[in-house]
Symmetry: C2
């Protein structure tokens, strides 16, 4: 098979709209399944999950499973198992959000109070556990043990990534590769497993499973790098979170690693005092932002995200020639490029 040059897949300004258009009907089924499966006799569970679900988010991860089913050219009727997996993937993601907010002691997510701020850490930990268990019940219903194995392995990798992140927290001299390992685990692996599982549960060929897994992995890397880069540049209103949260949490992200690597002794002393030792003074966030700007660290991070987005495009390029998958391949590439744009 000759593959279409990546640059030919889409033209014009990157947009999420084509992919949203393709998956729209299935995403309505996913949303209905989310609402249905978050119900429980214990009222606190649907209350707390409802708060998180109502806050929305892009639902990128379940979209990966749906796109996977479409890549397998499953008809709408055949996409039932992928809908279940998509719901499971969103529940796994929601569980990690609940636990992350407890760990980060965050009070704001997507512009709303976090669940732990409203209901307490105890409830957030337990309802996270509930969602995780419920996700596995949904996967069991999808009735494919190989796919279940993929998603169980991805779940373990997510927590490994989170633990790795914890161990690099406060170490401003973390190498870039360690950071990439962390975000691969905590973010990209779930995108990848969601996409690959969507293909596999829908009977797609092994090469499509592998391609969509790779697509999800590259997209997930781009997505997380952008999230980390924009933490320093956006205001809380636009991002729906507290700007500078990562700085206050001593999180080591690509912009700070770049600024550390290119910084002089005074700059490194600043990063060591703040990210390293959490001895923060009043104007430190502004100083950090100025240092990042001096080294062009945000734009250089975005450039790296662009590279992952192009790799995502390359992963699906082989399917741009087949009329059955051409529109989807183009929409997926477009979505990846959009994810690596400053406005996303």
């Amino acid at each position: 098979m000759t593959s279409t040059p990546v640059s030919d897949i889409v033209v014009g300004a990157p947009s999420l709209a084509p992919l949203l258009g393709l998956v729209e009907k299935d995403m309505e089924r996913v949303n209905a399944t989310i609402i249905e499966r978050m119900q429980n006799d214990v009222p606190l569970i649907p209350q707390l999950v409802g708060h998180l679900v109502a806050a929305g988010g892009k639902r990128m991860r379940p979209m990966m499973s749906i796109a996977g089913a479409m890549m397998a050219t499953a008809t709408p009727d055949e996409r039932g198992p992928a809908i279940l997996l998509a719901t499971a993937v969103e529940f796994i993601h929601s569980a990690t959000l609940l636990h992350d907010d407890v760990i980060d002691e965050s009070n704001l997510r997507r512009g709303r109070d976090t669940a732990n701020a409203l209901w307490g850490n105890d409830a957030a930990v337990l309802v996270g556990d509930f969602l995780f268990a419920r996700a596995f019940e949904l996967m069991v219903e999808a009735d494919n043990i190989s796919v279940l194995g993929r998603l169980a392995a991805a779940s373990a990798k997510i927590t490994e990534g989170e633990v790795r992140q914890m161990t690099i927290t406060g170490n401003p001299d973390t190498p870039v590769d360690d950071y990439l390992d962390v975000i691969a685990g905590k973010t990209a692996v779930l995108f990848a497993a969601a996409a690959g599982a969507g293909v596999e549960v829908s009977g797609g060929s092994p090469d499509k499973v592998a391609a969509m897994y790779d697509y999800g992995l590259q997209l997930g890397m781009a997505f997380q790098i952008m999230d980390d880069a924009l933490d320093y540049s956006a205001d809380a209103a636009a991002m729906g979170k507290n700007a500078g949260d990562d700085f206050a949490d001593q999180k080591i992200t690509l912009p700070t690693i770049i600024a550390w690597q290119d910084g002089d002794d005074d700059e490194r002393a600043f990063w060591q005092r703040t990210l390293g030792e959490a001895r923060f003074a009043k104007d430190d966030l502004a100083t950090a932002q100025a240092m990042l700007a001096k080294h062009d660290a945000i734009d250089r991070s975005i450039l790296r995200a662009n590279g992952f987005a192009e790799a995502a495009c390359a992963a699906v390029a082989p399917f741009a020639d087949d009329p059955a998958t051409a529109d989807l391949a183009a929409a997926l590439c477009d979505a990846a490029r959009f994810a690596a744009m400053r406005t996303s």
Copy 2:
């Protein structure tokens, strides 16, 4: 089938020894699998899990899966899948212990510092999540989707039970039935699912699956009631935990419910101030213990545990006639009665 009268299954003082003798070799395989599967490239994970695992505990839950496989008359060679499930069950249990300690803010478990006290809540939450994911990986390896469904459902029930417990916390007028619902969810369901899954994964008959599920459920109820009753009577050294922890945590357990129900206005005012409003004074624990003694609340709780132990015996009584399962049925009954003894 005529069943042996329950009282005839075992004679003499109840003991865990016969069951321990039967499962000993398999439990060595379970312990080896636990050690093998808790390994990870991220050093903090095996360190933290190792601390928890080294602290020991009776390993009652994995023992249920092994007993289930034996009830199915699986040969040692055929018990591989049950060994995997037993390990998974212990990992699920360990995950809930880690999260419970975070929720209860406990500093001591089984006579040792808790993981959250040593490594922080962040690590305890995340490593709990890791163990939960790893448990599902082990279940996938056992390669039986029906059994996986049972254990996924049990996992959801555990967290429901924990959330229910949270919602009754601080309400001294909780009805006994609500308490029984809580402990069924947070404890007994995992004993039940572990035992039933051990039978099913080993190809045992549906009546044996149902019987062992019931046995596990009844034993789990007895086990948790005893744990709650002894929290007020044992000293920290003997129990390996802080005596009066439940009292300080405003946990509503069978002894306090009995004392509330039979208490006069002054006593209820005491329980309301302490368990209800957490306004504790210096000698409150001693006062609580005196009130429990006045109403015989510990012994009446133990009597209730005895009832569940006898129901556990009744569940396995039908298999006491078959030479292939007679020793096991007797040992299981003996173990249940032992669990409901004050000395356990």
